[in-house]
Structures are given as structure tokens and as C-alpha cells.
């Protein structure tokens, strides 16, 4: 569905200064929104500013954000991976199965990560090897992976995870900082460095902006995309380990609909859904905003489905507003 853009890019004579760019950037807008939501929340509920409550609130977004980092790279490269939530389900099911066979925590983690990588490799092969459109491929694997989980589990559930395993979802590294939150921060830095400071990151942008030009410039387009699908599979597995450890049980319907929330998070973070632009700090801010909105609504007893309306409106309006703004400025 990516349209070939026929309009020539407007290149200004002089780039704006660092300061001007920073003020006008999407990230600055996100910081403002995040601050506003933080203030509204702290006035709306007296329980919001409690450090332990805030710590609990981070669980709303950490797992999704881990996937969102890898998803951001995939979307910047002009592809999409809608199968991530199903990878979570399949990984969790395979780990649950391994528990029944008597495996312990280190083996469980390895098995989980391997499952995620295999799922990612499968997507990657179909997209890069056979040259199929990623949106349909991952709609197919979304059905396939969760379907396999249903085949294994049916209407049953796996429980009985070892106590040491639950640390990944329930453990604290220091004071109110949970393992998940620390992992989220570490991954944010890691992905930020990879995307913004390495050749690999530049290649991702190059592919997203003009795949043909990237190919002629010596970028191994297929290989880079394959690695990106491996990464989303791997991150979905990491998220699955955290989520399974937090819940302590596996059902085939685990993480249902998360792919939409992850994509929303990435798009809200300023990543262009058609590929070519976006930043990791933007995604981090979007994760914080979505987490705080969910948590704030939760404190006010707003049902989850009403929050999803808000997320849907947020998704459409954050994309529509800049377009309207540009059009308004253009018409003057």
C-alpha cells in the first residue's frame, strides 16, 4: 500500500538551527503532552503520585514498549509486523509446555527466546526470501502462531512456573524499580544507539526512504530486513517471558490485540507508518504517555474498553493534526 511519492522533496536553502528544530520537533510536543497528562492525573487522583503506584503503572507499558522498539525499526524500514502478539502467545505456550516437561528457569528463558527467533525468522524468510508483502504475511502468521497455541492448549491453561521464573515479571532490582522497568530502560538505550549511531541504523532509514537507492548504495536490503524481523520476534519473546512471569499462567488468548497497541505506540511516537523516519526517544515518550493514560483512567475507574476508544482517537488525531497544521500553514 506504500504509495510512490511523486512530489519532489522540498529542500530549504539553509537548515534551521539546532534550537529551532528542537522546539518544533515531535518529541517536544510529546514531552508537553506527557507533562500535561502527568499534571492532570496528579490533580485528578490523590493516589497517582505515590512512588509504588507509579511503579505499578510502569507494568502497563514496559512489555509493549519492548516490542515497540523493534517494531519502530521495522516500520521505519517500510515494513510491518502484525504477528507480535501471536508470537507472545506461542512463546508463552511453548515455555508452559517446557515447564510440564520439567525444565527450569534458565532453560525456559532460552527456549522462549529461541521460539521468538524462529517465529521472526519465519516472517523474515517469507518477506525477504519470497518477496511477499509483510502486512499480509504477518496477518497470516498472526493467525498461524496463535492458532498453534490454540492447538496445543485448547481451552486449557499452563501454570506451575518455577518461583525463580516469576522474578522476570514480579522482581525488583532496587527500591521501586522493577526488573521490567530497568530492562525497558536498558533496551531503550540499546535501540536508541543502534538506530541513531550505527551503520545498521542508517541502513534502516535508507531502506525506508528509498529501497532501490539503498540497494544501489550497497545496503543489503534483504539481510537488514531479515534481521529486523528476527528482532521483533526476539523482542516479542522477551515481552512474553516478562508477561508470562508476571501472570504466572499461559492461555492461548494471552496478549490478545497487543499488536494494535504496539503499532499505536510506535506511530504516536512519531514514526512514519509509510517508513523512512522516526526516533527511539519518541517511542519512549509515547510509551510513557500511553502508560500514564491507562493508569490514570484506571485510578478513575474508567473501563478498559473506554480507554481503547481514547487510544484509537489518539492514534488518528496524532497523525491528522500535523497534516491539518501543514495544510493550514500551506493555505496562508
Amino acid at each position: 500500500m506504500a504509495e510512490t511519492q511523486m512530489v519532489a522533496r522540498h529542500i530549504p536553502d539553509r537548515l534551521e538551527g539546532r534550537g529551532a528544530r528542537l522546539v518544533k520537533s515531535w518529541e517536544t510536543l510529546l514531552v508537553a503532552v506527557a507533562l500535561a497528562i502527568f499534571l492532570v492525573n496528579s490533580f485528578a487522583s490523590p493516589y497517582f503520585l505515590d512512588p509504588w503506584n507509579l511503579s505499578d503503572a510502569t507494568f502497563n507499558f514496559t512489555e509493549k514498549a519492548m516490542i515497540a522498539f523493534a517494531m519502530a525499526l521495522v516500520i521505519i524500514s517500510g515494513e510491518i509486523d502484525l504477528s507480535v502478539a501471536s508470537v507472545i502467545a506461542l512463546t508463552s505456550t511453548v515455555m508452559g509446555y517446557a515447564v510440564q516437561l520439567g525444565f527450569d528457569t534458565p532453560a525456559l528463558v532460552l527456549i522462549g527466546l529461541a521460539t521468538g527467533l524462529l517465529c521472526g525468522a519465519f516472517n523474515g524468510l517469507l518477506v525477504t526470501g519470497l518477496g511477499l508483502p509483510s502486512i499480509v504475511v504477518t496477518i497470516g502468521t498472526m493467525s498461524l502462531f496463535r492458532g498453534l497455541s490454540f492447538v496445543i492448549l485448547g481451552d486449557q491453561a499452563f501454570t506451575g512456573y518455577p518461583a525463580s521464573f516469576s522474578w522476570f515479571g514480579q522482581g525488583y532490582v532496587w527500591w521501586v524499580f522493577s526488573f521490567e522497568f530497568c530492562l525497558f530502560l536498558a533496551l531503550a538505550i540499546l535501540y536508541g544507539v543502534v538506530l541513531h549511531k550505527t551503520n545498521f541504523g542508517r541502513a534502516v532509514y535508507a531502506i525506508g526512504n528509498n529501497q532501490t537507492a539503498a540497494l544501489f548504495s550497497g545496503v543489503r536490503v534483504g539481510r537488514v530486513k531479515f534481521v529486523l524481523f528476527l528482532l521483533t520476534g526476539l523482542m516479542a519473546a522477551v515481552a512474553s517471558i516478562c508477561l508470562t512471569a508476571r501472570l504466572g499462567s499461559t492461555r492461548p488468548s494471552i496478549a490478545l490485540g497487543w499488536e494494535l497497541e504496539v503499532v499505536t505506540m510506535v506511530v504516536l511516537g512519531g514514526v512514519n507508518i509509510l517508513g523512512g523516519s522516526g526516533t527511539i526517544p519518541g517511542v519512549v515518550l509515547a510509551a510513557l504517555i500511553m502508560g500514564m493514560v491507562t493508569f490514570g483512567f484506571g485510578l478513575l475507574n474508567v473501563p478498559g474498553i473506554v480507554m481503547s476508544i481514547f487510544i484509537g482517537l489518539l492514534l488518528i488525531s496524532v497523525i491528522a493534526l500535523p497534516i491539518l497544521y501543514r495544510r493550514f500553514r500551506g493555505s496562508r
Binding site: 510512490t4 511477499l132 504475511v137 493467525s143 492458532g147 474498553i305 484509537g312
Partner: protein, 327 residues
Amino acid sequence: MKVLLKNREMLLVVAIALLVALIALRFPPFVTPRNLANVYNDTSILIILALGQMAVILTRCIDLSMAANLALSGMVAAMLNAAMPGLPIPLIILVAMALGAVLGAINGLLVWKLDIPPIVVTLGTLTIYRGLIFLLSGGAWINAHQMSDAFKALPRTAFLGFPLLSWLSLVIIALMVVVMRLTPPGRAFFAVGGNPHAAVYTGIDVGRTRFLAYCLSGTLAGLSGYLWVSRYAVAYVDIAAGFELDIIAACVIGGVSIAGGIGSVGGAVLGALFLGVIKNALPVVNISPFAQMAISGTVIIIAVAVNARAEKRKGRVILRKAEAAHG
């Protein structure tokens, strides 16, 4: 023979026939005319929805909100019926279709006027429409006893030995064939998807055509909303949750190219029937219904792979290259 097998629709007919034959080996009663008619009837709603989705995909867009649209229109139809049992059923159907059209038009306007990528628009409206059902109904169910008998009976009413639901889907197939082949908007769907730039030079408004496609898919989703609710005699927030993927799967299996411009009414119908046969056959051949999701997924992936090869063989490579060099 070779020409026949190259034809997408024939290939699907053969595949469906093989599938039915395989099932008949395990469970002969499956192929009785009565049972096959039941399978068709059970697939009718999916066929109607797949035809709407096909129009949208042809224009290089996608409508992920169809199932949510169906659920919202169905809920409104059920609530109208529960609140005012005296209301004539045709009026309720019209309201459901009109509401569906409006919801589709919202998608279309966002795509047309704001140039937001279709997948983002419909991802957003998918959650919004579902959420609206909750706000409307307060999470409550409308059950069979709250619906009037006429409301529930319509899709079941037999006419010449077949339920009205089957007849209705046949009428819609016929209408869609006419629209796609003989009317300007139908041709425009193909033109816009095949090559948007060329379409502009031909005098076709790309945005308006997409808007029309979304209105069409919305209207059909609204109609399906009434059909679904009256057929299953229940309406709640989560009806048809995840069904949007089945609809897209039916199109993809039917040879509708996700890149736009390629597809046919016959293909979409056969794609839906293929899924319908699998769904109805699983219980009788003793495969757990839980396997259905995995099977649909596998079928989608195989279908996309086959499609991609079929599309490559078409003599459009030169045009694509010229377009790529230009853009």
C-alpha cells in the same frame, strides 16, 4: 487445460472440489446437496463482507474496521428492535445499512481528505467502533427473548427451498458483478489500484473513489450487522471480534492483490467459500475446532505466495520498472 489452470477462479474451484472430495472420503454425508446448501448459507455473511473488502483492497486501501462496524450496526439494530418491537424490519435493516455507510464514510473521509494511511485509520476506528458499542450498551447483552420474532426470522425464512440469507448473498454477488463490470465507480476501483497516477490523468478522482469504496464496504458491513445479530439471536460487545482477518483472508485466498488493482467478484466469493468449507468440515472430520485458526493462517500464507507468483507472471514488469525509475 493449461489455460484453465492458469485462471485463478478455476484453480480455486478445483481446490475447493478437492477439499470437499477429501472430506467426503472421511465423512460422506458432507457432500449431500442439503448439507452443501447449509455450508453456503453459513458462509453467506462472510461472502457479503469479502465483497466489500475486495472493493477497498482494489483501490490499494484496507478496511480493518469491518467487523467492528458490523458489531456496532448489529447492536444498534438489536437495540432498536428491543426498544421498539413494532418497528418494521425493513426499516431496521435500512438503519443498520445507513449507520454502516456512515461509519465507512468516516474511514473514507479520513483517507481521502487527510491522506492518513488506510491501515492507521481503520486500526483506529476499529477500536473506536468497538468501544462505542460498550458505551451504547453499557456492556449488556441483547438476548434472543428481547428480540421480536420477525427480527429473528427474516434470514431463516425459506424461499424456494433456501433461506433468505442465501438468496440475499446471491443477489449481492449479482449486484457486485454488475457494479464492478459495468459502472464507472466499479471500473474506477480497478484503475485507482492498478495505477493511481494513470487514473488521475484519466480524470478519475483517486481520493473520491477510495471514499466510495469505503462507503460500499461500510454499507455491506452494516447489512451484515443485522444479518449476524438476527441469525445468532444475540448482540454483545465482542460479536465477530477478529472476523476482520477472516474477511481479508477470504480476499487474499480469492486472488485479490493486497497491492491493489487485481481481483474479481468470483475470486472473493470462492475465497470465502474455501474458508467456509474448512470451518464447517473440521468438526465432522474430527479435527479440533481450535485448529481452525492455525489452518486459516497457513492457507493465507500459501495464498499470498501463490498470488505473488501469479502477479509476477503478468506482463506488467515494464510498467513497474518505469514507475520505479520515475518515482
